[in-house]
């Protein structure tokens, strides 16, 4: 009997390891719904088009799809006393207006737990690490007028910083908060930056205003209708294409190199060397299992059984689900997208909409 009980416990333990879904924490409601967002400046010009993903940590930090970010996050979580078991992380492209009227930007992690929404940046415009340790508190879980908070830590574990924040306005599903960060600079006066950001439940950060310069960026604007805007020329610059990227499949479209990061599942598009500029970035979800380019489209298949098509500007054109994951090389020609699936079957989609398209007929042989 004892042996039988032990056997049943061992099997149950193995099967229980199959996965435990985590309840999202309270502050997670402020994160954006996963999807594609356009970031524009004061004049409405597109700065970047990005997609964000929300990953429940659920007891395993390996839910974060970027090893480097996961390591940063683990360190930051440990320093901030945040329980990863009860946190949800959003990966997104953060755009921060700078004092000179420009913008700096980087890939960011936004972590939500029961107390607040926290942020850790990973890269700045020069490819340097901008990890805030401990995490910066961006927004309380329950923002209320006159609510204030403060924190301090060491940026990258070296330079001390202090951050203070207050809720300017909290009405309905949205809140506006102001944060000021004072960063010590060796041999010089401290660098003070101020940001006013607006957040809405389920939509994430909607805009950010630099308090010194007044420059503004808006996140989540509608995808411009009509003719596609010209890709910006002075966008986000980084080393080629980003530090820590493990490139898998690579293709090219309209002068851009488009590659899949094997480890993270990111899709990156950048201009050619010697001065590569990251043009756009997406995390379609899971890892990228198939890639192809043609007819002005980049088409990717993901481990989540989805096929996404982006244009040269990085705008999502369509998404479609498939019975299984796409594998290998996707071909796009003659208005048709041919996607090989892991089942061994091949599906043909219309390049314009992603709808199922009839296979091209075999031309009758002449003679």
């Amino acid at each position: 009997m004892l042996a039988t009980a032990a056997f049943i416990m061992a099997v149950a333990s193995l099967l229980a390891a199959a996965g435990r879904p985590a309840e999202p924490p309270a502050a997670a409601r402020w994160l954006a719904t996963p999807g594609t967002r356009v970031i524009v400046d004061d004049t409405g010009a597109v700065i970047a088009t990005v997609s964000s993903t929300v990953v429940p940590l659920g007891g395993a930090v390996h839910g974060v799809p970027v090893p480097e970010l996961a390591t940063t996050l683990l360190t930051a979580l440990a320093a901030s006393g945040i329980d990863p078991e009860t946190a949800v992380v959003e990966r997104s492209f953060t755009v921060i207006p700078t004092g000179d009227g420009g913008v700096s930007a980087g890939l960011a992690l936004t972590v939500a737990d029961e107390q607040a929404v926290w942020e850790a940046l990973s890269w700045d415009t020069q490819g340097g690490v901008l990890a805030y340790l401990p995490l910066r508190e961006q927004l309380p879980a329950n923002p209320a007028r006159t609510r204030t908070w403060s924190g301090s830590g060491l940026t990258n574990g070296i330079s001390p910083f202090r951050i203070t924040g207050e809720v300017d306005r909290a009405e309905g599903d949205c809140a506006t908060v102001t944060t000021r960060t004072e960063q010590e600079v060796p041999g010089g006066p401290p660098l003070v930056t101020g940001l006013r950001t607006r957040w809405c439940i389920g939509r994430g950060q909607l805009n950010a205003v630099d308090l010194d310069s007044g420059s503004t960026v808006s996140v989540g604007a509608d995808i411009p209708a009509g003719p596609l805007p010209t890709p910006p020329t002075g966008g986000v610059s980084t080393s080629a294409p980003l530090p820590g990227v493990e490139l898998g499949a690579v293709t090219a479209l309209a002068g851009l190199t488009v590659g899949a990061d094997r480890a993270t599942g990111d899709l990156l598009a950048w201009t050619a060397a010697p001065d590569p500029v990251l043009r756009w970035w997406h995390h379609p979800g899971g890892v990228i299992t198939a890639l192809g380019a043609g007819d002005g489209l980049i088409v990717v298949g993901t481990s989540q059984r989805a096929v996404h098509a982006f244009d040269a500007l990085g705008q999502l054109r369509w998404t479609t689900g498939q019975p299984d994951v796409a594998v290998g090389r996707i071909t796009i020609a003659g208005g048709r997208v041919t996607v090989p699936l892991a089942t061994g079957a091949t599906v043909t989609l219309a390049a314009s909409s992603g709808a199922a398209a009839p296979r091209p007929g075999v031309a009758p042989s002449g003679g």
């Binding site: 056997f7 061992a10 193995l14 199959a18 390996h62 094997r262 990228i288 299992t289 290998g328």
Partner: protein, 562 residues
């Protein structure tokens, strides 16, 4: 009605009889062993169902994706597949060890060492950079516990169920700890190392399933042969002469069209010529073994089945040894034990160097030895059939090996051999007719049916292939199912090396293990493992299936007129 009765009668002898005589007879085993066998058979059926239903199973929930940069490319599989596969591997190991403990000391020792090695390599893969700390260390302790328990059970043997549980507990404990180590590694690295590690380990473990996959090729053809003989014989012995001739003519035309319409690799003329040379060698072996006087399809199928599985093991021996060395290398490297560097070149020699070719040479030499031995000793029909089966298989194995070696003057293919056989059969029919002892139309049509099977030996796996969208996997599924139904004969008799219960558990463990690997490859969409198993099955079809068909054709064509 008469035709229907005829078909039923011949199907009974061609398909039902092999199952009746070859299936596991649980009444000959202890109640405990019978219960375990029943449970294992149920698990086996579930696994084959999972293979057939892989696509809907994958669509039940989210997939876990990881791209390790390994040759297999990105992996996307259901998260639950990893613990389920590990648990199934544990069950297979426990079955094999429990069975082997009831056999000869050498078999028992080999099985325990293999099980310990498999568990150690899984633990080593989960240990990452710290294999001798935390959960992996506890897992290694469980492996040592397994070895100790096995030694105790060898001395104080109990019921099969008690012994199985005693082996299963440390085995599953080691796997649970390995799973915990995988998860800990994933947490610290940010990468799903559990998916990558299990995928790598199963690539090595899959080599252990190669013999059963090879034999599945023969089993699938055996099912096809049974159906063709059963249906055609039953139908033709009860239809009018005119209809028989009509079917015969249609068969010949259909055969020609089928064989010539598909593209062949290389020159068609060379393929047909090489097929003819192979047939001449087969005919020579056939006449030398003097099997003509005892033509009997059932005996031919049984003889080929008897030599099939041992030959499959010899053929796969270099790959199996290479896989075991690969696992040993992983364990040695992970535990920083000296000797790891010696293992790698030896492993590569066996897996990617001349190893597979050596396996083929060994199997050809072994088959020739069996043919000579059985031919010289066997005065009865069974001995002659075994000699003929071994000799014919040696000829076809040589033909396939020469083709694999890419000799410029040699190009062997089933289609080329089928065309050569068609010409030979029609020529032989004309000679027999000219001599005044013509072949019966029924015999001729059955032989033509078998010739068609030669071209597409796995055609009868087509219904399963439609479900699986891959004919090679379908052949493997059909072959495994047929093996489960007909391979039980070895467990009916006690031998010097194995008791009946031991044979039962070893056969079940082997079949269950292959089904587990196939399930992992299908549900997890592991193209490398799937293609490896499918290549083995295709090789089994090419060598053993072709030999069986040619042997049967020779047997039927040499029948005296009835």
């Amino acid at each position: 009605m008469a035709a229907e009765r005829g078909i039923r009668a011949t199907l009974d002898s061609a398909l039902v009889a092999p199952v009746r005589t070859g299936t596991f007879d649980l009444r000959r085993h202890s109640a405990s062993a019978a219960g375990v066998a029943f449970a294992a058979a149920g698990l086996f059926a579930l696994l084959l169902a999972a293979v057939v239903l892989a696509t809907p199973l994958r669509s039940l929930g989210p997939l876990t994706g990881v791209d390790s940069g390994a040759g297999s490319g990105p992996i996307a599989l259901p998260g639950a597949l990893i613990p389920i596969t590990l648990a199934l591997i544990g069950c297979c190991l426990a079955l094999v060890v429990t069975g082997a403990l009831r056999g000869h000391l050498a078999i028992a020792s080999g099985a325990v060492i293999l099980a310990a090695l498999v568990l150690a390599v899984i633990l080593a893969a989960g240990g990452g950079t710290a294999p001798l700390s935390g959960p992996p260390l506890g897992g290694y302790a469980a492996v040592i516990g397994l070895v100790v328990i096995a030694a105790l059970l060898r001395r104080w043997r109990g019921s099969v169920l008690r012994d199985l549980l005693a082996v299963l507990i440390p085995t599953l404990l080691a796997l649970v700890l390995a799973e915990r180590a995988f998860r800990a590694g994933a947490t610290t690295s940010g990468v799903r190392v559990d998916v990558v590690a299990v995928a790598v380990v199963l690539t090595f473990l899959a080599t252990l399933a190669i013999p059963v996959a090879l034999n599945s090729g023969l089993a699938a053809v055996d099912v096809g042969v049974g159906l063709v003989i059963g249906v055609l014989t039953g139908l033709l012995t009860r239809t009018s002469r005119a209809l028989t001739w009509l079917i015969g003519t249609a068969s010949v035309v259909g055969m020609l069209w089928w064989n010539l319409r598909e593209p062949w690799p290389g020159s068609r003329l060379l393929a047909v010529a090489c097929g003819a040379v192979s047939l001449a060698a087969v005919a020579l072996v056939w006449s030398l073994t003097r099997a003509r006087s005892v033509a009997d399809p059932a005996a031919v199928r049984e003889a080929t089945g008897r030599i099939g599985l041992p030959a499959c093991y010899v053929l796969a021996a270099p790959v199996i040894i290479g896989g075991v060395l690969g696992m040993a290398g992983v364990v040695l490297a992970a535990t920083a034990t000296p000797g790891g560097r010696i293992v790698v070149p030896l492993r590569d020699f066996l897996l990617t160097g001349p190893g597979p070719a050596l396996g083929r040479i060994a199997v050809i030499a072994g088959l020739l030895w069996i043919a000579l031995r059985a031919g010289s000793r066997g005065r009865g029909g069974a001995g002659r059939h075994v000699a003929a089966a071994a000799g014919i298989t040696a000829v076809i194995a040589t033909a396939v090996a020469l083709d694999t070696a890419r000799w410029p003057w040699w190009s062997w293919s089933p289609a080329g051999t089928a065309v050569a056989l068609l010409i030979a059969v029609l020529t032989w029919a004309a000679i027999r007719w000219h001599r005044g002892n013509p072949l019966s139309p029924a015999t001729l049509i059955v032989v033509l049916g078998l010739t068609a099977l030669l071209h597409q030996a796995d055609a009868l796996a087509l219904p399963v292939a439609l479900l699986l969208q891959g004919s090679a996997t379908a052949v493997l599924v059909v072959g495994l199912a047929w093996g489960m139904l007909t391979d039980g004969g070895a467990a009916h008799r006690r031998t010097r090396l194995l008791s009946r219960d031991a044979a039962l558990l070893l056969i079940l463990g082997n079949l269950l293990f292959t089904a587990t690997i196939l399930m992992w490859a299908s549900v997890g969409r592991q193209p490398l493992i799937a293609s490896e198993l499918q290549a083995a099955t295709s090789l089994g079809v090419a060598i053993f299936g072709t030999s069986l068909v040619l042997h049967l054709c020779a047997s039927l064509l040499s029948r005296p007129p009835s």
